[in-house]
């Protein structure tokens, strides 16, 4: 009986597998979901959902399926189907209402406000409490945009029925559709491991122990060695702010993955391009800077240098003195990056922009040339290639 639901979950983008479906059926057979729809919802959720970021998606699919409102699947993809909205509105509105909307600034204006409201809702922590159309203050409800039809949230049921639980969609702000999880990044970064022994001696060195014991006329002489650690040293330079705002998420992931993977990880931030100083704390970027030369002197050339940036800027910012958007730089950025590349022969540039777009930005091409073509997209495959280059 649950097969259509199962396929709907998969169509909705959840990674539910047969194992989980069988588990759910087994649980139902044992009478765990016998009492009410609420119980069934909880049971299905605990069985089929494996990550809190999927809870919201699950709630929506569950709500849609068990209400028989299949077309509300449309908003699973997080877009407001504008065309459709417009048609719907035209159909439903009377002449006066349309006039009222015109007075409000027209349909476009409303759509814009709607979009804003939607975005605000994504930011808010409280979820469910500010749905468009449920409050009397929202223009969308007042002018007859039936929220049911618009499919942005649903009417909370007036009685405390089971549907309400998932209609509240409390997990909304946890939803994410990341292409690249930290786990993937870490697995890719693992290739960049070179083990060396250092630190406290806490492991038995069997060979040395046998050797020493033999020399000691058979009396036990235990030898210990330190555990093996990843000895790779990484210098990570992250572009921050401006056009990078779109990529903050993926950079955070990259950063957190790298941070736990390497013992020796030094990181610095820059804005758009490398100049005479970098910084470690974005809130104090203007007061606490580290001169780039100091960095090159402090960290040995055995460090692997990784830049993360979208390489999207005006070419002036790279090739001219004074080209920086933030300050007056005495020497062009290109000079600075060459200095760094001379110090660190193993270096790559990771670019979160998709590779197809690189051609269209002259600055990207410039940086690729400066890097000696060692620019890779910030995807799993790109990361793999980059790591191979760093070896």
């Amino acid at each position: 009986m649950l097969l259509p639901f199962f396929y709907m979950l998969r169509e909705g983008g959840m990674k539910t597998s047969i194992t989980e479906l069988l588990t759910l059926l087994e649980a139902m057979k044992k009478g765990l979901a016998g009492q009410s729809v609420d119980d069934f919802y909880f049971l299905a959720r605990t069985t089929l959902v494996k990550d809190e970021s999927e809870l919201d998606r699950f709630d929506r699919i569950f709500g849609a399926y068990f209400k028989g409102v299949e077309d509300s699947l449309a908003d699973l993809f997080q877009e407001v189907p504008e065309e459709w909205l417009r048609q719907q509105a035209e159909l439903n509105l009377t002449e006066e209402e349309r006039a009222q909307i015109e007075a409000m600034g027209g349909f476009e204006e409303l759509m814009r406000a709607l979009q804003e409201r939607l975005e605000e809702q994504e930011d808010r922590h409280e979820g469910g409490s500010k749905w468009i159309g449920t409050a009397g203050t929202s223009p969308f409800g007042a002018y007859g945009y039936n929220p049911e039809g618009v499919r942005i949230g649903q009417h909370g049921s007036r009685n405390r029925s089971a549907v309400k639980v998932w209609d509240k969609r409390e997990y909304r702000n946890l939803d994410d559709s990341l292409e690249l999880g930290t786990r993937n990044i870490k697995v890719a970064l693992r290739r960049l491991r070179k083990f060396a022994r250092e630190g406290a001696a806490d492991q038995l060195d069997l060979d040395a122990t046998i050797d020493k014991t033999a020399r000691n006329a058979g009396l036990l002489d235990i030898r210990m060695v330190p555990e093996r650690h990843n000895a790779i040293k990484v210098l990570l330079c992250l572009d921050i702010g401006g056009s990078m705002d779109d990529h903050v998420r993926i950079c955070e992931e990259m950063f957190s993955a790298a941070r736990s993977e390497f013992k020796h990880l030094e990181y610095f931030y820059f804005h758009n391009f490398i100049y005479e100083s970098l910084w470690k704390d974005n809130r104090r970027r203007h007061s606490e800077k580290t001169p780039t030369l100091d960095i090159a002197h402090k960290y040995g050339s055995d460090y692997k240098l990784i830049f993360v940036g979208d390489a999207t800027m005006s070419p002036y910012e790279i090739v001219y003195a004074g080209g920086s958007v933030e300050h007056w730089n005495e020497e062009p950025g290109a000079v600075w990056i060459r200095r760094l590349l001379n110090t660190y022969p193993k270096a790559v540039w990771l670019n979160p922009e998709p590779r197809e777009r690189w051609e269209y930005t002259p600055s990207t091409k410039l940086i690729r040339d400066l890097m000696g073509d060692r620019m890779y997209p910030l995807t799993i495959a790109g990361l793999d290639d980059a790591i191979r280059e760093l070896h």
Partner: protein, 285 residues
């Protein structure tokens, strides 16, 4: 088959969805993975499940250096080597030097135990993969003694994670999953009631109000959670602070007393003080 049902205990409030998840895991004898904000009672859950169902509890706390093998058993080669030097008779039986780990202990238990694997995300990224067969079939093989260890009773396994590392899909498929969300005002009232049954109603209401206000402050690095609230209320009671003090004489810009118990991070305290200061300046009494 046990017909025990977990419904929370006198000191632990379990919401309906949590009860369902636990009962599903107990009935189908599969592990349950519990995630949630720090301080929402993930670890406590295993302890409460054990006490509610009257079962022995085995706790395995994971550290960044923990290996999956350590949960099964360890072969103490050094002790054996030393014994051989001293001519101890024990040395002839390798089984004397196999030290069982927490999972083995749980498998050997005479009645169905509860096994807590705490903070699984602390361990190496491959750790969960190394436990797949053990959690699935509830058995493992001891190579030194060529013995297969099978669970006498499949333990109820509670696994907690703080989300520091993502867990592999293969592992997740074998578990029930529950995300403990932050309790709403009603659930929180119940929770506090359970811990401080004689708390004055008005003090509780004011404390909760102040608490949720602090949680609403944007940009906090670590939002205060249930365990911090309970600590704070304990302090308020010890100091005998009247409810009016919490209300701050009707102004919303007062700093709640003893707020050090709620904010654990220097930056947060600083941010909070700044906000209160700003608020006072913009809304003078």
């Amino acid at each position: 088959m046990t017909d025990n049902k977990f419904t929370g205990t006198s000191s632990y409030i379990a919401t309906d969805d949590l009860t369902m998840a636990v009962n599903a895991a107990v009935t189908l004898e599969r592990p349950i993975l519990v995630k949630g904000e720090p301080g929402t009672g993930k670890t406590q859950l295993a302890i409460e499940v054990a006490s509610a169902l009257g079962k022995p509890l085995h706790e395995w706390h994971i550290k960044s250096t923990t290996k999956a093998q350590q949960g099964l058993y360890e072969y103490d080669a050094v002790a054996r080597l030393r014994d051989s030097q001293l001519g101890d008779d024990r040395v002839h039986d390798i089984a004397n030097y196999i030290v069982p780990g927490k999972i083995w202990e749980a498998f050997e238990s005479e009645e169905q135990p509860v096994l807590l694997i705490d903070e699984i995300d602390k361990a190496d990224i491959e750790f969960p993969n190394d436990l797949l067969r053990e959690l699935d079939r509830m058995e493992f093989y001891v190579y030194e003694t060529k013995k297969l260890v099978t669970a006498k009773h499949r333990p109820i396994i509670v696994i907690t994670s703080n989300n520091e590392k993502e867990l592999p899909d293969a592992f997740l498929r074998r578990c029930f999953f529950h995300y403990i969300k932050f309790p709403d005002m009603d659930t929180m009232t119940e929770i506090v009631d359970v811990h401080f049954p004689n708390l004055k109603k008005d003090l509780l209401a004011e404390a909760l109000n102040a608490f949720y206000k602090v949680r609403d402050v944007r940009g906090l690095k670590k939002k205060p959670s249930t365990s911090e609230l309970l600590d704070w209320i304990k302090l308020l009671l010890a100091e005998d602070i009247p409810p009016e003090a919490l209300r701050g004489e009707g102004s919303r810009s007062a700093i709640p007393p003893l707020y050090g118990a709620l904010l654990k991070n220097e930056q947060d305290v600083h941010l909070f003080e700044q906000l209160v200061f700003l608020d006072r300046r913009t809304n003078p009494q």
